[in-house]
């Protein structure tokens, strides 16, 4: 399995190269001109051309790619065309909010949705089950911003318990961090809670009828031990998959939530960069996210083998 691990980590390299190349081409095929963003509304065609020239955007594609990738080999992700800030600095500034928010969200999600899904499956067909199902479905058909606004309205504006917006680093203390991160995390979690509750319920229903659940009951175990120790463990693989892909998605940024709570995260950076055609930033971000995806997926795959010994690689 160590060999598998090493193989997978190495496999990340071609993945990232291909993704980088693909995105590079995709970007250049997409209309858009960073020079126009920089120069603003009044620029004349000549001025635009001059700026493009200065930014090196008039070079042939392959030269640009070669320049960029050779820089990359030396660890240089380039600088933003728009703000002239090094891409690594830009991403560095945004990484913490995103990662900490994602971690908080996923923790909340797991803590809430897994027990809820187990409960719904256990009480299959009862009013609890129906309630959980309905709530989950409504949960994923409401736009995130609505949930965000409602939470802000209640907790920040009416009860005045929490601030409306913003982000504080954990290094400034867990209190201030949580104070600002809890609402966005809940907002984000609402979709995933809905999804993962349903997924847990579905997977649990598949295993609750199995004989080993009966055996566990015959052993006189607590219902909790039966559900969580035996059934859930067998149902875990698809649940974990969804959690994992959801987590990876969050790490690559969640624009709407970041906007509603004014969190300077990777999602906004990505959208802003895309809308501004800030090529080096987009490319850097996508390299990063593809790396993250590869790692998260590797972690999921490894955990499969841990959860279900029949799965081997």
């Amino acid at each position: 399995m160590l060999a598998y691990f090493v193989r997978r980590v190495l496999a990340a390299i071609p993945v990232m190269i291909v993704v980088a190349l693909f995105v590079f081409l995709l970007l250049r095929l997409t209309p858009g001109d960073p020079a126009a963003i920089i120069a603003g509304d009044m620029a004349t065609p000549q001025q635009l051309a001059d700026i493009r020239e200065a930014l090196g955007l008039n070079e042939p594609l392959y030269t640009q790619f070669v320049t960029w990738s050779t820089q990359l080999l030396t660890g240089d992700f380039g600088t933003s065309l728009i703000s002239r800030t090094p891409v690594t600095t830009l991403i560095g500034q945004r990484l913490e909010p995103t990662v900490s928010l994602a971690l908080l969200t996923i923790t909340l999600t797991i803590l809430i949705s897994v027990p809820l899904g187990v409960l719904a499956a256990w009480k299959h067909g009862s009013w609890i089950d129906n309630l959980v199902t309905t709530a989950s479905v409504v949960g994923f058909s409401i736009p995130v911003f609505v949930i965000g606004y409602i939470l802000i309205q209640i907790f920040a504006l009416e009860l005045k318990l929490l601030p409306v917006q913003g982000f504080r680093s954990i290094s400034e203390g867990v209190g201030p961090f949580l104070e600002r991160a809890i609402l966005p995390a809940l907002t984000l979690a609402s979709i995933y809670i809905a999804l993962i509750t349903r997924m847990t319920r579905a997977a649990m229903l598949d295993v609750l009828g199995e004989d080993y659940v009966r055996t566990a009951r015959a052993k006189g175990l607590d219902e909790n031990a039966v559900l969580f120790g035996h059934a859930l463990r067998n149902a875990a693989v698809p649940i974990l998959t969804v959690i994992g892909t959801g987590f990876a998605l969050m790490i690559s940024g969640v624009v709407v939530t970041e906007s509603v709570f004014n969190i300077p995260g990777l999602g906004r950076l990505t959208v802003d960069a895309i809308l501004a055609r800030d090529y080096p930033v987009i490319q850097g971000l996508i390299l990063l996210t593809s790396g993250i995806y590869v790692l998260v997926n590797l972690a999921i795959d490894l955990s499969y083998a841990f959860l279900d010994p029949r799965i081997r690689y």
Binding site: G209, D211, R214, T215, A218, K219, G220, L221, G229
Partner: protein
């Protein structure tokens, strides 16, 4: 008899749903303290349902206890809430389930699954728990307990899993032990050990045992009283001696009459010398991978040389865990042998690709040891049976009528085709598995404990069927069993396996009657009820006296 530990009164169990169908028609049963009651009877007569009802474990919705009482030490189990039931289970009553493969959780190590019982009901330190579990594993005669402790169910042989179930049920020393065919997958020597263990427990704690079995030999050896079930009713209850020597009911008589004799059949003439299946120095080592270091593998089979000729039956008997199923699975190419080769009609198939293997698939069929999970729970029995023939070009309708026919041949009504596996009893599922294998009209049939879950009358019927098919079509059968009576009945040749090796191999007559190896001898001596002549309702000695030819 002292106050009964368990008293079942007029228990009626029906299927759930809008049109309930009775499964148990008001049965009554009593077990006194320290007593062993054997429940025998037809496959599908409701034995497992009775035991599940007692444990309060009837599948929700599917089966419902409509009326009656189950008193456990004066307390009505049917009326007990989930809380109370939980307390009762494991400490007062525990159960060994019929199908150990599905009854064990596939993703937890068996050690942990046993330990859990201790954790839930006794407060012991971690070290002590582990010690107790290992000790228990030793007691149920498992080899290499450290490895087994850390193994997952799929890494164990059928008999080993069964012993895990037993260990799990016994570890808390319950007042009432319900054992649903606990030794079907065990070789006779191990079985003997287990029975001894149960008896010791009884002597020590006064445990009462409800023992469900098809093996009349076991009944003869351990039962105090016997209840005979038929069609959801208890048709006869009496002390063991009485039942065996003077059965009142016609059904009981028929049942006992069907018990095969321990004596090997007389050798059949070798009609053909055509070798259809051959293993050459077959070896299989299961490797366990771990994250960092490779652990030593388990040698499950080594140097196995077997030859099966057309129209013949080769029996493999031997210790549980000795590699019988492994050999079978290698022969089927369900796993890739790590050494040696398998030849079908002279062609080595041990390294053929999936596609190249396809033509051979039709020719060799297997009846799996654990029928439950070898049937896809989501598809109907009919579809499971017809899948193979349709794969090889049969028309659907034709395949279905053939399936119905086969089901009837194995003693099931044809109309079960549209039901799903979970609605059947263990023995019924096994018969479905047999029907599936036969539906392919194979040249070679690999039967892994194919009749172990069948009551002796159905068993006899199935064995007759196999015999008949063999005679008509010249099917060669590789018959894996632990039941020496069955082996004696149908095998032409017998191989005895121990620890992955074939220790004795020869004509059935020679091996079973004049064993050369100590181990074989031990096996034969350990066969339960070997001194009772069931079909004639008298001790064997009496029969021998009457017919000195034997």
């Amino acid at each position: 008899m002292s106050t009964p530990i368990l008293r079942i009164e007029n228990l009626v169990v029906e299927t759930g749903g809008r049109y309930p169908v009775p499964i148990l028609n008001g049965i009554s049963l009593e077990i006194g303290s320290g007593e062993t009651v054997c429940l025998v009877g037809e496959s599908g007569s409701g034995k497992s349902v009775t035991s599940l009802a007692t444990m309060g474990l009837l599948p929700k919705g599917a089966l419902v206890a409509r009326s009656g009482h189950i008193w456990l030490e004066g307390e009505d189990v049917l009326a007990a809430g989930p809380r109370r039931l939980k307390q009762l289970r494991a400490t007062r009553m525990s159960m060994i389930f019929q199908e150990p493969m599905t009854a064990l959780n596939p993703v937890l190590t068996v050690g942990r699954q046993i330990e859990e019982v201790l954790k839930a009901h006794a407060s012991l330190g971690a070290g002590e728990q582990r010690r107790r579990v290992l000790e228990m594993l030793e007691q149920v005669h498992l080899p290499d307990v450290e490895r087994i402790y850390g193994s997952y169910p799929h890494q164990l042989s059928g008999g080993q899993r069964q012993r895990i179930m037993i260990a799990m049920a016994l570890i808390l020393r319950p007042k009432l032990l319900i054992a649903d065919e606990p030794t079907t997958a065990l070789d006779v020597t191990t079985q003997k050990q287990i029975l001894k263990l149960v008896r010791e427990l009884q002597a020590e704690l006064g445990t009462s045992v409800l023992f469900i079995t098809h093996d009349m030999g076991v009944v003869a050896d351990i039962a105090d009283r016997v209840c005979v079930m038929h069609h959801g009713d208890i048709v006869e209850t009496a002390a063991t001696k009485t039942i065996l020597s003077d059965p009142k009911e016609a059904y009981t008589r028929a049942l006992l009459a069907a018990v095969p004799a321990l004596l090997p059949r007389s050798p059949r003439a070798d009609k053909s010398y055509e070798t259809v299946l051959e293993t050459v120095e077959l070896g299989m080592v299961y490797r366990q991978k771990s994250f960092l270091r490779a652990r030593p593998g388990t040698v499950a089979a080594e140097d196995v040389n077997l030859v099966l000729r057309r129209g013949r039956t080769l029996g493999i008997v031997g210790e549980s865990g000795s590699g019988k199923s492994t050999v079978a699975r290698c022969v089927m190419r369900l796993i890739d042998p790590t050494a040696g080769s398998v030849r079908v009609g002279g062609k080595d198939i041990s390294s053929l690709s999936r596609n190249a293997l396809r033509p051979y698939r039709k020719r060799i069929q297997m009846i799996f040891q654990d029928p439950n999970r070898s049937l896809n729970p989501r598809i109907t029995v009919g579809d499971s049976i017809t899948e193979g023939p349709i794969n090889y070009g049969a028309k659907r309708a034709a395949a279905r009528s053939r399936a119905a026919e086969l089901l009837e041949l194995v003693g099931m009504p044809a109309d079960v085709l549209d039901r799903h596996p979970h609605q059947f009893s263990g023995g019924q599922r096994q018969r479905i598995a047999i029907a599936r294998a036969l539906a392919m009209d194979p040249d070679v049939l690999v039967a892994d404990e194919a009749v172990s879950a069948l009551d002796v009358s159905v068993q006899a019927q199935v064995l007759d069927l196999l015999d008949d098919i063999q005679a008509r079509l010249g099917v060669a059968i590789l018959f894996i069993t632990h039941d020496l009576r069955v082996a004696a009945q149908i095998c032409d040749d017998v191989a005895v396996m121990q620890k992955g090796r074939v220790v004795e191999y020869g004509p059935a007559e020679a091996v079973l009657r004049h064993p050369r190896q100590d181990y074989t001898r031990e096996l034969i001596e350990a066969a339960p009820g070997r001194d009772w002549d069931f079909p004639n309702f008298r001790p064997l000695a009496a029969t021998l006296a009457a017919d000195p030819r034997i």
